[in-house]
Symmetry: C2
Subunit: 160 residues, 2 copies
């Protein structure tokens, strides 16, 4: 199956929650409670998002995490790349050249790159603001009162 990992799925939800925080700041335990996810998992995801520059971390007693950019300016592709690495459905990723030992004789390589690019572009066109439930209402009410409503990830608990 062509699937994103659960961590990425969780990451999208966590960022959506963070974007809805009135003061723009949330601690890891707060986010874990809101998204109903285990704290160590949340902490691991937030760390990855911080290292990639999507989040700012504030240490100390009144610390927490805050977004470096508004949700409208963050694409889903950025979130996936932050947590999983470069986007591509095969190991043939033009961002990482020279990794495939069969590149010289492999005829399908350049064509897979075309497909990888198409998928990447599709993911880059969706912003984080469009992923939340607010998308069906108003995209500018991100600072409003909307949290702790028990949102869950995109269906990762379904059949398996």
């Amino acid at each position: 199956m062509i699937r994103i990992t659960k961590q990425t799925d969780y990451g999208i939800v966590l960022l959506t929650h963070l974007a809805s925080a009135p003061d723009g700041l949330r601690t890891a335990p707060e986010l874990a409670a809101e998204a109903r996810l285990p704290l160590p998992m949340v902490s691991k995801i937030l760390k990855a998002l911080t290292r990639s520059g999507l989040l700012d971390s504030h240490r100390g007693a009144k610390g927490g995490y805050s977004m470096t950019r508004p949700a409208e300016g963050v694409s889903v592709a950025e979130v996936i790349t932050s947590i999983e690495g470069p986007i591509g459905i095969t190991e043939c990723i033009d961002d990482v050249p020279g990794e495939c030992g069969y590149a010289a004789t492999c005829g399908v390589r350049s064509n897979w790159n075309r497909i990888n690019l198409a998928i990447r572009e599709a993911l880059e066109q969706i912003s984080l603001a469009e992923m939340g439930p607010v998308s069906s209402k108003s995209l500018v009410s991100l600072g409003g009162a909307r949290d702790q409503d028990g949102q869950q990830p995109g269906g990762t608990e379904a059949t398996q």
Copy 2:
């Protein structure tokens, strides 16, 4: 990572080889030797492609596999679906409704479906004929002399 399975990768290569067969017929051992893959693996993949209608199987002494349609008319999406099942990067696939227990409260569901659709469309626009090395030369010379050149899948042997 968003990845197709090796079986799908192999399947693309096997179909490319099959499309280049002069008489349009190849046995599983022949294809295994050409693609340099283990026979049981090849057999398993060919069976899946046969069940989905992409291949015809001919049993008996002079049997083998042949394509039911020309490579130009087979999309990469069809091959992936034949081997892996419905295409979608989350379990939220609109082809399989009612599987997600959180659908009622999950705000990101409809947006993931948009992304899944975009990816599916990208894969449907690439035909099998465009995946082979012949794509850079001539698409109509599929019946020509081009085989057993040791082609390998799309880079699955790279780093791991």
